[in-house]
Symmetry: none
Subunit: 129 residues, 10 copies
């Protein structure tokens, strides 16, 4: 079951601006309607707050374990995407954050869900992944 308590963070190492991007190509959860597994990728992109404003970054291994906690959860694509956005925003209160999920075809239909928090700079809005 998705478990935000798995998420860990560490203080942003600087007051200067920087942007973090993590892409997992090995995400899987379960369709709540059919019970069949869903496979996809998850992109998380964010700008932490400056260190002197209490900025933090999600720790990578904890992010991996958190994403793995969806493995046997029956959950919609849209809910996965928004929950990841919400859990990471709650964890870090970043300046902005973007989550993009790509889902392999199911019944001949592939899907992409994009969720944001704050104002994403335009050079990232047009990235396909």
């Amino acid at each position: 079951m998705p478990d935000a308590s798995l998420l860990d963070k560490f203080p942003a190492p600087t007051d200067q601006p920087f942007v973090v991007e993590h892409v997992s190509d090995e995400f899987t959860s379960v369709c709540p309607v059919t019970g069949h597994p869903d496979f996809g990728s998850v992109t998380v992109r964010f700008e932490p707050k400056p260190a002197n404003a209490g900025g933090t970054c999600v720790e990578l291994k904890s992010l991996k374990l958190y994403l793995q906690s969806f493995r046997n959860e029956g959950i919609y694509y849209e809910a996965v995407t928004n929950q990841i956005r919400d859990d990471l925003v709650a964890l870090m209160q970043p300046t902005w954050l973007q989550v993009i999920t790509h889902w392999k075809g199911r019944g001949g239909i592939s899907s992409v869900i994009r969720a944001t928090s704050g104002t994403v700079p335009c050079e990232f809005l047009t990235m396909t992944k």
Copy 2:
């Protein structure tokens, strides 16, 4: 026969902004003039209203069955595209919605139809699919 009653929806899981994209590469209907089958892809992209404004998302399996209901319908490309746009707008009243259909060659001519509702952000207007 195209059957909008097959479409099902669920409440948007959040008040935060997000964008949904579904692409079916396995669409088929019938040409109303020649009776021959048409083959193509259908892209549906939309931003639901926020949950607190009654926003909803189309359920994926119901979308699959709805798209399959065109299988033996004699209908123009343009009518397919606009009907999908209209049926989904009626279902969800989304903030904006975009439908793009690509049709394989018939008589040596391939076609693309793009239909919109509301104001589609420019980063999506330039996507080819």
Copy 3:
């Protein structure tokens, strides 16, 4: 001989905005100077007027027969392109229309002709085909 009377149309299925694109990769006519055959592709892209303003769409099979009627006509690239633009504008009075023709090499020279009517949105002006 090019025959605009072959063109047929049907009422636009909606008052909502949509854009139609037809690409034929099997166009041939005859060079009026050398008598040798020319080969190329024809892209037609347009936004019909809304249905409640009398908007119409060219019917696809009639477009195929119309394009085939150029087969043995001795005619310049530029005239082909402008005649298709003019015949389709006369047929449909669309909000805007764009015709792009690509011609295979003749004497080592390949050519592209672009003709427009009305104001083509910029996301279509930069398409190469």
Copy 4:
């Protein structure tokens, strides 16, 4: 020797706007310094004046013969490009015209020369050929 009298033209077939593009991948002339042959491509792109303003288009076979007349001429890349621009502007007085020549490596150096007349729309300025 380059011979502008080989160029022929015909009246623009319409008052509506259109753009013509001819690309020859088989251009050759001679280096005036070393006497060695140069090989390259020539792109000519222009918008003719409207027919009712006396607009004309260069005839394609005459353009081929004109480009072939450079074959044994000792002439710089820059002069080739500007002479083509000048000869075509003198022939047609187009609304705008663009000539781009690409030259294969000589002494390990490849070259591109771009010459314009009038105001070239920005969607053509960024084309690489």
Copy 5:
């Protein structure tokens, strides 16, 4: 251990504007959590101050040795990126500087970190590496 004292510089050779870009595809450090090696690339891009304002450039061999000094350091991606940015800014006080690190997949997750100092011109903001 990362050692900024390895970095050497030389005076900018001119008062005119220029931009320097160094890309190392052979960067390795150690994950501070798992102890496993990380592999990635590091892009450093900057505009030095003019020579008459005391501008300097990082010397390439010293940059190589500096990047190699991270080899056995247990350090986060984010800290690597910001430390390189900070060490180079301290070394050169450039007009602007951009550091982009790409990290190969670990636990199925690949990452990109982007850090900047000063105002990076937009033609560089959209570069993927």
Copy 6:
């Protein structure tokens, strides 16, 4: 040793605007620190002044010999790039000029140096070579 006296020029053939681009993929010099050979490419792009303002173009064979004169010179990438810019600006006083050098990997690091004089039009600023 780099020898600007090798550079030759000829008068711009026209008062009309045009842009010249020369790319050498066979540039080599020597690293001043390690004594090892460096290999790379050099792009020179400029708009000459109009002929009636005394505009000139660098002669291609002289450019080749000039670039070859760096062969055994121990010199930094940054100095190569700026010296080429300065020598060509001194030779031609062009309206604007851009020099981009790409350097193959040395110690696993590849580099790009961009130097300009005057105002380079934006369609050239974003070219990668």
Copy 7:
């Protein structure tokens, strides 16, 4: 329902050897287990008997109508492939014949079925389609 009586043939035009290949990328039938539509491509490749031995070729439009007759049939991939092989062998008694069907993913699984009659020359056995 699949209808072999739709297939038509014409006499092989020669006693000399030749090989015919037809590829349809627009095949659809229905899964006999789930009732959902299947989509795929069908390749038919054969060498007719010589004309003087009564050789024949399948007529293309009749082949199209025959393939379309599977549209609403509930039938396994393996049965589709073997039935096409059997119906075409019964129609033409060719020297050899090869049928390859490719099926788009269903439940994340894509499939290829290859069926033969007679001895297929090795240069065709290794073709992927």
Copy 8:
């Protein structure tokens, strides 16, 4: 837990030779050492015995469910591949059968396991998937 009883079969539809290939790009199991999920693809390729010799084919939906039954099993790549081979051979006794599994990188290492039963024709032995 892997469950061969989920596998279902149906009689081969013909006595003629044919080859079946199923590729799942959505396979996941669990590493028995680290407990982390593994992701990969599974290719199953076989020639059934002729119908008159009792030949059978694995039913596709049952194959999907069987592959999904590995989802939470801690099992080596090699064991996965051989078990699938063994379970399918036990189910069908095919003339020959080939299983190829591709595994995404873990700790920077990607893997491919190939297992066979009977004599696989050489045109399939050289396929990469």
Copy 9:
């Protein structure tokens, strides 16, 4: 109407072995069943007899005119291919000859016809065009 009398030849220039290949990407004829135009490419490949055995080669311009003579002929793909093979064999009596025609999709089906005379060396049998 196809006219073999348009074909011209010239004596093979040598007794040594050589192979000639001509590819036309601009072939068109008419479907004898539907009356619609067909488009495709024609590859002709042959080894002439040695000059001292009366070997000849087809003249290229005559081949072009011959291929153009099919333009308005209602004729099957198979008949086109075999007639070209027969007419060229009658013209030249080559050591061997191969004709490959590729036809664009009609009714969603694309086709390839391969016809040979004599023994084609294996390095040419596996060429796709």
Copy 10:
């Protein structure tokens, strides 16, 4: 006019076997029928005799001048190819030699001519250029 006396050679530097390949992408001659220029590439590949058997290699600059001597010659593709083969065989008496010429499209037809002397090893027979 083609001039074999331009060809120069030097002794093979060894008794050991080696293979030489020269490719010119800048070949031009003139069509003897139409008088129009032809453009193409020329590949020359050979194994010299051992040095102790009097083996020689063609000198590269002399080969360039020799190929340029065809520039204004009216000559068939086949004759160009065989003459180059014959002139080089006469010059060097190599163990084997292969000449492949590729010709850009003329009248929509592109051509390839392959001529050999001696026994070309099979790994070179299948090269497309």
